[in-house]
């Protein structure tokens, strides 16, 4: 233990989890990294050990002891249901898996720190929401569906663990929508459709967290002593309509009564995952306060929401119908035409007068 922290990462096969493991491998103060997942990780990992197990399996508890783990990064809370798993299965893995993991942590005396990657979906999405959610101010109407509810329950279990074991540092990070060149998210799939479906008459306010920042902040909390509850998002806010324009794509507004039917069609076609709770998010959006992240945790995100989105568009090579360069060129050409055209005598005369 003197050599450094011994870290257990759940869901190691995921993109983000792999990146976190790679980042931790670079550090001297991390002695060992153990990854747990049911799938084989595909990333380049040098000294990370891999345990193939489901979180509900008692193997995880034994691993904590045999590998002498003192830091648990629970990063496998699924915020969307990819590869067509049903909602019930996702919930089972999210909630029961976390319960078992935290129960094992409570039994393991050497565990000193537990970090949970949660989501801002716990705040729900409602028209009566405050403009910006702080960590303490809960939602007006607690979210009752989808991954938001899972996350609320899992956070509750972790808090219970914190109460039972006062010596364990508990850190909960609520991430806004993750975007980046490698990490997939439910939001990303919206922009892979030919047109971006939106809800007619609504324009959600969005915040993004770049994957580099997500990795950076997870690395920070794994090695630094600042327990607590933090929102993680880039500076600034974007509207969905603005995202569509920044990407040069075209929005397809769907009237509110048809939204769930259209979402069902998209889901069945398997091209994008639009769970029902995501639809409400597409109506009202959500913005969180990140003051605490910057001031108390001391982590300043490198990407603003807009930079994160622009980087995502660029790296993923999302090509729009409208090229931004084209529009800028049209404007320049119009300006040049106005200046040079002989049809505007006053303008040309003014040009001559100027030295």
């Amino acid at each position: 233990m003197a050599a450094g922290r011994r870290v257990l990462i759940t869901g190691i096969a995921g993109q983000l989890q792999g990146l976190v493991a790679q980042a931790l491998e670079q550090r001297d103060d991390v002695a060992a990294i153990v990854g747990v997942d049911v799938r084989e990780p595909q990333h380049e990992l040098a000294r990370t050990e891999f345990v193939r197990a489901d979180l509900r399996n008692p193997v995880v508890g034994r691993t904590l002891d045999t590998a002498d783990i003192d830091t648990v990064l629970h990063l496998s809370l699924a915020t969307s249901s990819p590869d067509g798993r049903s909602r019930a299965q996702v919930k089972e893995r999210n909630v029961i898996g976390a319960m078992q993991l935290f129960a094992a942590c409570q039994k393991a005396p050497q565990v000193q720190r537990v970090v949970l990657k949660s989501t801002t979906a716990v705040y729900g999405s409602d028209y009566a929401d405050p403009a910006r959610f702080g960590e303490e101010g809960g939602p007006r109407s607690p979210t009752r569906t989808g991954v938001g509810k899972d996350a609320v329950e899992v956070e509750g279990y972790l808090r219970t663990l914190g109460r039972q074991r006062k010596d364990v540092d508990v850190t909960i990070l609520r991430f806004a929508n993750l975007l980046g060149p490698r990490v997939d998210s439910s939001f990303h799939s919206l922009f892979t459709l030919p047109v971006v479906p939106t809800v007619l008459g609504f324009d959600p306010r969005l915040q993004f967290c770049h994957e580099d920042d997500a990795v950076g902040v997870l690395e920070h909390v794994a090695t630094d002593e600042t327990p607590g509850l933090y929102n993680v998002a880039g500076e600034g806010v974007l509207y969905l309509s603005q995202c569509v324009r920044l990407a040069g794509r075209v929005a397809a507004p769907v009237p509110l009564p048809l939204v769930s039917a259209v979402a069902g069609l998209i889901r069945r076609s398997g091209r994008a995952d639009l769970p029902p709770d995501q639809l409400r998010f597409l109506q009202y959006g959500r913005v969180v306060d990140t003051t605490r992240l910057r001031e108390r945790l001391g982590y300043v995100p490198r990407y603003t929401s807009r930079q994160a989105f622009e980087d995502f568009v660029e790296q993923r090579q999302i090509h729009g119908l409208i090229d931004r360069e084209d529009v800028a060129r049209w404007e320049r050409e119009l300006g040049a035409f106005l200046r040079a055209s002989p049809q505007w005598p006053t303008a040309t005369r003014r040009e001559q007068v100027r030295p």
């Binding site: 403009a131 008459g201 603005q242 324009r245 404007e331 119009l334 106005l338 505007w344 006053t346």
Partner: protein, 435 residues
Amino acid sequence: MSGTAEQHAEVISIAEQRAARDARVAASRVGASDRPRCEALTVAGRPCRNYAVSDGRCRVHAERETAPRADTVTAPERPAADRPTSIGARSGGPARDAARKAAVERLAPERRGVPGGRPESDRADAAFARAERELTRRGFGAAIDGVELLRDAADERWLEALRGMASVVRRRITGDYDVDEYGFDEDLTTNLMMPLLRPLHRHYWRVTSHGVHNIPATGGALLVANHAGTLPADALITRLDVFDRTGRHARELGADLVFRTPFIGEWARKTGATLASGDDADRLLEAGELVAVWPEGYKGLGKPWRDRYKLQRFGRGGFVATALRAEAPIVPTAIVGSEEIYPLLFDLRLLARLLDLPYAPVVAQLFTLPLLGPFALLPLPSKWVIEYGEPMESMEDAQEIADDPMAVFDLTDQVRATIQGMLHRNLMGRRSVFL
């Protein structure tokens, strides 16, 4: 006139009646009537018929003499011939004249700077001036702005405007604009909403406003105003007026119904409104923003015609507590004219309850629906006056008072009484609903 009437008294009897009426009018002007009239002369050289408000002068003339402000009185009096014969046709005249003069002066040095002069441009100017005079005389305020636009078209400014528009279009297409955390899209508000509202403000409701100097130029302040007119047009027009006069965007606090409604909610957020909840208002004021509230809410908007200009309950006084916590001054604001845009005759309560709306109005215009078709749904072109009152400064122990419900109630009543008083004063000074 009365002299000629006396001479021909026995010939034309109708003149006799006229003379008698004139005498009555004169008597009332001297003070026979219980309400004194204004002593000043109008621009057309007639005695002003407005009721006097202070110092024997009406609101319009009192403002002119006592408080010379750049926006009301910079321009010297024009020759009487140039003046409109009917005052009502071009209200807000002095302010507009001043603005136009200033615009001409801005252009003038550039013109002189051109070597060899610009005779054709001078001729054009003369022609424009002639046309303008003629139109002013007939009272076509809107047409004059068209003429101004044409005049600008012959100059660099028009091209600048075109380039500006191209830049706005480019920003809108490529998403190159910033939005704050409340969802306020300043680019959209300044370049799209305000220009769309401006004709309504200038030509349809012909808004005049007093006391803009009462709005602090910087720092947090809470603008509190009355709310009326079935649809919240007064909120939009007040925002535009504040923006045009001070360059500040007033951030509205809206009811949750607004943000639930498609399109309206989206538009409200983008133009700077946010939910009327304590947290949002507190943070806006602390950030030094100008915040506007209409504390009557739906009770004010949907009140029947017989209750016009009677302030309803001011919410629960939450806005006062908010201002106290942020130690921000409260600017009481009275809007006269908004009540008459949609006179609400009946409220179909049952229908409102079925549709889950705060009220289901039957406005006066609806009865002309068979006659005018869709035009019947237009708001009435009442004449608006907005007055920004003396700011009520925050007190020393504001933080403590904010937690004392009784003190908050008292202050709420005080603000309400102030606005009610301002409303009455402006109503007294008003000549008619539409002029």
